[in-house]
Amino acid sequence: MLNIENLNLSFGDHKVLDDISLEVKKGEVITFIGPSGTGKTSLLRCINLLEKPESGRITLGGLTYDFGSITKKETLNLRRKTAMVFQQYNLFKNKTVLENVMDAQIVVQKKSKKAAHDKSMKELARVGLDGKADAYPHQLSGGQQQRVSIARALAVEPEVILFDEPTSALDPELVGEVLKAIGEVADSGMTIILVTHEMSFAKDISDRVIFMDQGRVAEEGPPEQIFNHSESARTQQFLRKFYTTTH
């Protein structure tokens, strides 16, 4: 369903993503883990073209886009099939919770106000925030804001939702509610690409875990393999270090 071939990204001389290829099936939950600065965020940003790779191809929803020669129209098209949940939520500050979820449906998808409203209330109910429809983002806790941003992503019915460390800006006591919301999105059959440092969550939710190191896919497999029987010394070292420093 989502297919990335030979994606390359550099910032100046610094090669950040080195020939990445990835195939994702519909409804699959893929989690990226790996050391800081390895290119996980960059990869997600390439998928909805907040970063423009210098080469590679992506196929999504039956259409193939060549990063090297992608047009403005294709860029918008690809972005409209993906949705991003940011580490810092990035809710529109000038809009209410409801308007945040409705806006893209009206502005981008040209839906009627009524249809957008009904869809938005449904998605807000899914993340448990239909009661906050008229609040402004700054009136909500970080956890609530992130759940609204999940509703905003769901509301445009994307082919895939990209989550970039959705809980790492949150106070520890707020992490649970966001993970629960992501878990429900995964259960509903949505295709998900997730970057996280929540290892036990990754283990529970993922169909496949990919360990990235220095811009490359170092190891991939089912969570059971990566977390318990990794074949790569590098993965083992990363996980060992991770558990000893954070647990």
Binding site: N48, L50, L76, N77, R79, R80, T82, A83, M84, F86, Q88, N90, L91, F92, K93, N94, D103, A104, V107, V108, Y136, P137, H138, Q139, S149, R152, V156
Partner: protein
């Protein structure tokens, strides 16, 4: 002091107040329109153009506006002649308006630029990631957030403009100030205090009206700011008139 005389001459000013207002409104509207591409060029740091705009802004800021008026009045026909238009006299009002548009285009671009830069990158990226076109993003997300930040600066520009417009009499425009100088000459300098006091009161009036309009917008802005969670600093709320 001859208050009766002041009341007598006041109706004569009514006929020239529209000229002052016309100059102010045209300069404000087109100045704002001009300031948008100027700010955009500077924000994007488009090579060459950006430096040119920097020089233009610096020039308009660092030379007296009276001098700029003379430059436009005498220089514009020469410039037009160079590109093939043979107009020896462009009319004082036109020269004044064109000059003030250029002045305000520079001034307002320096209000818009920081307002734009104050918007968090995440706001842009959230809209982009959902497939907003640049226009949809500006209209729905960026400009509504810029407006409350830019408003005090634009309000100040407006008040300055009203004051600066009183200098156009120097190139022969018969606006409020222009009429005043004529009158003061007609009375052989006998009633100068009365004439200029009347004019001062008129400018006061025009400024008060504009200030009220700005305050109205200001109230809306405070509502927007409260909604978006910005804290409004006191010195940002008032205007130096």
């Amino acid at each position: 002091m001859d208050i009766k005389y002041m009341l007598e001459i006041f109706p004569q000013f009514l006929s020239v107040i529209p000229i002052t207002i016309l100059i102010v409104v045209l300069s404000a509207v087109f100045g704002l329109l001009l300031s948008i591409p100027v700010a955009a060029i500077r924000i994007r740091r488009i090579p060459v153009l950006s430096q040119l705009m920097g020089a233009y802004i610096s020039f308009t800021r660092s030379t007296p506006i009276l001098l700029q008026l003379f430059l436009f009045f005498f220089g514009l026909p020469v410039l037009l002649q160079l590109i093939g238009f043979d107009i020896t006299n462009i009319g004082a009002i036109t020269a004044a308006v064109v000059c003030l548009i250029f002045f305000n285009g520079a001034y307002m671009s320096e209000v818009l630029r920081p307002a734009y830069l104050a918007i968090d990158k995440g706001q842009h990226e959230a809209a982009e990631s959902l497939g907003y076109t640049p226009f949809q993003k500006m209209k729905g997300i960026v400009i509504p957030q810029m407006a409350p930040i830019a408003l005090p600066g634009l309000g100040n520009a407006m008040i300055h403009l009203i004051h600066d417009s009183s200098l156009v009499f120097a190139i022969g425009v018969v606006d409020v100030m222009g009429l005043a100088t004529i009158m003061s000459g007609d009375t052989f300098g006998m009633k100068q205090v009365e004439v200029f006091l009347t004019v001062a009161l008129i400018y006061w009036g025009i400024s008060m009206v504009s200030e009220q309009i700005i305050r109205l917008l200001e109230r809306r802005k405070k509502r927007v700011l409260r909604k978006t969670g910005y804290e409004l600093k006191e010195e940002e709320a008032g205007y130096s008139v």
